[in-house]
C-alpha cells in the first residue's frame, strides 16, 4: 500500500543577510492513510519548516528548495501546477491546524464569517469552487442551497468538537473567545472540508496546560472516527506518546529515527533520541540536559549533524550522513552506531 504522503529527501534553506541557512537536509517521512504521525524535535529543528513545505507556504522571497519531492497520493506537490494544487489539495485534501489560534484568525471578521468563507471554496459538497475562472474571487457568489447545507455541517462539527451553543458562537469575534475555544474551532475548520491529511503544527503550544490534553484527545478521537491521517509536529514527547501511532525524530534539519510509538519509547536507537527521552524529568523531578548546542545552520556540520554532541561519533559520522538502517517492525534509524536492544 503506497503511503498517503511521502516526503523524499527534502532539502531546502533560506537566504539571509548573513548567507544561506540550510534548514532541511534530506528530510524524509511517510504517513499512511488514517495514521497519526508525530514529528518530534527541539525548537529550530526544522519540523515547522517541513510542515510548511508540505503545505507550500514557505516565504517565496527567501526560501529555496534544493532537492527532494513531496509526494501526495502519488503527485509531487513541488512540481505540480500551483493553481491546481491550491484548488484541489490545500484546504481540501490537506488541511492545517496552526500553532497560535489567536493570531490565525482575522481579528476584524467574525469567526462565523471566516468558517463559512472556507466552506464557500472548500466544501466537500462542491466539486468545483464557485464562480467562473474569469470572475475575480471577491465578486463570486455563494450558492444559497449549498450555503445552507454547509452551515448545517458547521453546526454539526462544532458539536463534535464540543463547542456549546454553536450558532451564537459563530457570531463572535476572535478576541471574544478563549484559547481553547479558538483551537477547537480550528480543528473543526480543518475537518469540515473532509480532508485525507491534517497537518497540526504544535497545536497545543499556545494553550494552557490544562487544556492541552483535551485538545490532543479531541484530535486523536476525531481522526480515528473519520479515518483522517494526522501529521503532528511537537516538541512535547508526552503528547507524542499519548496520541501518535508512530514517531519521527528530527535534529537540525535531518530526520534521524522513526518508529511505531511503543517501540520508540521502549527501544530508542539513535543517541539523540535516547538523550531526549532521558532528559524528561523523572519521578523525583530530576532532569538531565544534553551537553552542547544546536548547530548554526549557516554553516552546519558535515555528515550527521548531531556528531559534535555525540559521544559515539567517529570519522564516518563526521563525513557522510548515515544511510537508513531498517531495524524491523517499521523501525528505522540513521546512525552508524545506534543503540541495539532486544525488542
Amino acid at each position: 500500500m503506497t503511503a498517503l504522503l511521502a516526503v523524499e529527501d527534502l532539502s531546502l534553506g533560506f537566504a539571509t543577510e548573513a548567507g544561506f541557512a540550510s534548514i532541511l537536509d534530506g528530510a524524509s517521512l511517510s504517513i499512511d492513510r488514517g495514521q497519526v504521525l508525530g514529528l518530534v524535535g527541539e525548537s529550530g529543528c526544522g519540523k515547522t519548516t517541513l510542515a510548511r513545505a508540505i503545505l507550500g507556504v514557505l516565504p517565496a522571497e527567501t526560501a529555496r528548495i534544493t532537492a527532494g519531492r513531496v509526494l501526495f497520493d502519488g503527485t509531487d506537490l513541488l512540481t505540480a501546477d500551483p493553481a491546481m494544487v491550491n484548488r484541489t489539495v490545500r484546504g481540501r485534501a490537506i488541511t492545517f491546524v496552526p500553532q497560535d489560534p489567536f493570531t490565525s484568525f482575522n481579528p476584524i471578521f467574525t469567526v462565523g464569517d471566516q468558517i463559512m468563507e472556507i466552506l464557500k471554496w472548500k466544501s466537500p459538497r462542491a466539486d468545483q469552487p464557485p464562480g467562473r475562472d474569469w470572475l475575480p474571487a471577491v465578486a463570486t457568489r455563494y450558492p444559497a442551497d449549498r450555503r445552507r447545507a454547509d452551515f448545517d455541517a458547521v453546526l454539526e462539527l462544532l458539536d463534535a468538537v464540543q463547542l456549546p451553543r454553536p450558532a451564537q458562537l459563530l457570531r463572535k469575534y476572535p478576541h471574544e473567545l478563549s484559547g481553547g475555544q479558538r483551537q477547537r474551532l480550528m480543528i473543526a475548520m480543518a475537518l469540515l472540508p473532509g480532508p485525507d491529511l491534517v497537518i497540526a503544527d504544535e497545536p497545543t503550544t499556545a494553550l494552557d496546560v490544562t487544556i492541552q490534553a483535551q485538545i490532543l484527545g479531541l484530535i486523536r478521537r476525531l481522526a480515528s472516527e473519520r479515518h483522517v491521517a494526522v501529521l503532528l509536529t511537537t516538541h512535547d514527547l508526552g503528547a507524542a506518546y499519548e496520541i501518535c501511532d508512530a514517531v519521527n525524530v528530527m535534529y537540525a534539519g535531518q530526520d534521524v529515527e522513526s518508529a511505531p510509538v511503543d517501540r520508540f519509547f521502549a527501544a530508542p536507537a539513535h543517541p539523540y533520541t535516547t538523550k531526549l527521552l532521558a532528559s524528561l524529568p523523572d519521578a523525583s523531578g530530576n532532569a538531565r540536559g544534553i551537553p552542547g548546542e544546536v548547530p548554526v545552520l549557516l554553516a552546519p556540520p558535515r555528515g550527521c549533524r548531531f556528531h559534535p554532541r555525540c559521544e559515539r561519533a567517529d570519522r564516518s559520522c563526521r563525513e557522510t550522513r548515515p544511510p537508513v538502517e531498517q531495524l524491523g517492525g517499521g523501525h528505522w534509524v540513521r546512525c552508524y552506531h545506534p543503540h541495539r536492544q532486544a525488542p
Binding site: S43, G44, T48, T49
Partner: protein, 286 residues
C-alpha cells in the same frame, strides 16, 4: 575600532539613506563655505539693477534675480539661514519637549496629564497656522520665525516622549533599576532615555525637513526676514510676478529646498531602518 567601520558599512548599504546623508553634507558645506564658494558673495546685500533677471549663463550659473543679484550666491548664503532655522528651532523644541515628556511620563499623576492636555491643544492645530499667528504678531524676522516654530513644536516632543516613557516604564529592567535603588534622575537618563533615543533621533531628522518646509512657507508669506535677506521661501515669493519668463528665479530656490528636505527625509528613513531592527529583533523566529 573595527565596530565603527562595520556599522558605517551597514549603513551605506542603504543607498537611499546614503544619498540623504550626501545631500545634507552638501547643505552644510554650502552654508559653511558660502563666502568662498559664491561667485558673487557681495550680492547678498548689494544690487546691480542693470543685471536684473538674466537667464543662467556662464557668469551667473543660475541667473540673476529682480535686483540683479547672482542667484547661486544668494542660494548658498540662504543655506546658512536654512540650517540655522532648522537646527535652532528643532533643537530648542527637542531640548524643551523631551525633558518635559520624560518627567511627565515618569511621574504621572494629574499635573502630567494636565501638561499633556495643554500639549494636545497646541497639537490640535496645524503648526503653520499657529506659527503664522505668532510670527505675524511679533513681526518679520528670522529670530521670530525660529521662536514661532519652537513654540509650536515642543508639544510634539513632549507628547511623544511622554507616551514612550510611559510604555517603557512598565518594562522589567526599569522596575529592577528602581528596586536596586537608582534615583529617578538616574533611571530617566540612564535607562529610559537610551531606549527611546532611536525614536527621537529618527523623528528629529524628519522633523528638520518638515520645519524647513514650514519656515519656507512663512518666508513665502512674507513673515520671515525682510529683504534683502536671501531666505529661500521669500525668494520664491519674489519670483512669482516674473513668471513665466524668469523661470530660473522660481526654480533654483525651490530645488534647493527640495534637495535639503529630501536629504533629511531619506536620512530619517534610513536611520529608522538602521536603528530599529537591531534593537527590536530578538531571536530569529522559525
Amino acid at each position: 575600532m573595527g565596530g565603527w567601520r562595520r556599522e558605517l558599512d551597514r549603513f551605506t548599504r542603504d543607498r537611499a539613506a546614503t544619498l540623504g546623508l550626501i545631500l545634507l553634507l552638501l547643505l552644510v558645506v554650502a552654508a559653511v563655505f558660502a563666502p568662498i564658494l559664491s561667485p558673487f558673495p557681495g550680492d547678498v546685500a548689494t544690487f546691480h539693477t542693470a543685471n536684473r533677471l538674466r537667464p543662467p549663463d556662464a557668469v551667473n550659473w543660475l541667473g540673476t534675480d529682480r535686483m540683479g543679484s547672482d542667484l547661486l550666491s544668494r542660494i548658498l548664503f540662504g543655506a546658512r539661514i536654512t540650517i540655522t532655522i532648522a537646527f535652532v528651532a528643532v533643537g530648542s523644541a527637542v531640548v524643551i519637549g523631551v525633558p518635559i515628556g520624560l518627567v511627565a511620563g515618569y511621574y504621572g499623576g494629574w499635573p502630567s496629564n494636565l501638561l499633556m492636555r495643554v500639549s494636545d491643544i497646541f497639537l490640535a492645530v496645524p503648526q503653520i497656522v499657529l506659527a503664522i499667528a505668532i510670527a505675524q504678531t511679533l513681526g518679520p524676522s528670522i529670530e521670530n520665525v525660529i521662536l514661532a516654530l519652537s513654540i509650536t513644536y515642543w508639544p510634539f516632543w513632549a507628547r511623544l516622549v511622554f507616551a514612550e516613557t510611559r510604555s517603557v516604564k512598565n518594562e522589567i529592567f526599569i522596575e529592577s533599576a528602581i528596586a536596586l535603588g537608582a534615583s529617578p534622575l538616574r533611571v530617566m537618563t540612564m535607562h529610559v532615555l537610551p531606549n527611546i533615543a532611536s525614536s527621537i533621533i529618527v523623528r528629529t531628522s524628519i522633523g528638520m525637513g518638515a520645519t524647513i518646509l514650514t519656515a519656507a512657507a512663512l518666508g513665502f508669506l512674507g513673515l520671515g526676514a525682510p529683504p534683502p535677506t536671501p531666505e529661500w521661501g521669500r525668494m520664491i515669493a519674489e519670483s512669482r510676478e516674473f513668471l513665466p519668463e524668469a523661470w530660473w528665479y522660481a526654480t533654483a530656490p525651490g530645488i534647493a529646498i527640495f534637495m535639503v528636505v529630501m536629504g533629511f527625509n531619506l536620512l530619517g528613513d534610513g536611520l529608522r531602518d538602521f536603528l530599529d531592527p537591531r534593537i527590536r529583533r530578538g531571536a530569529r523566529g522559525k
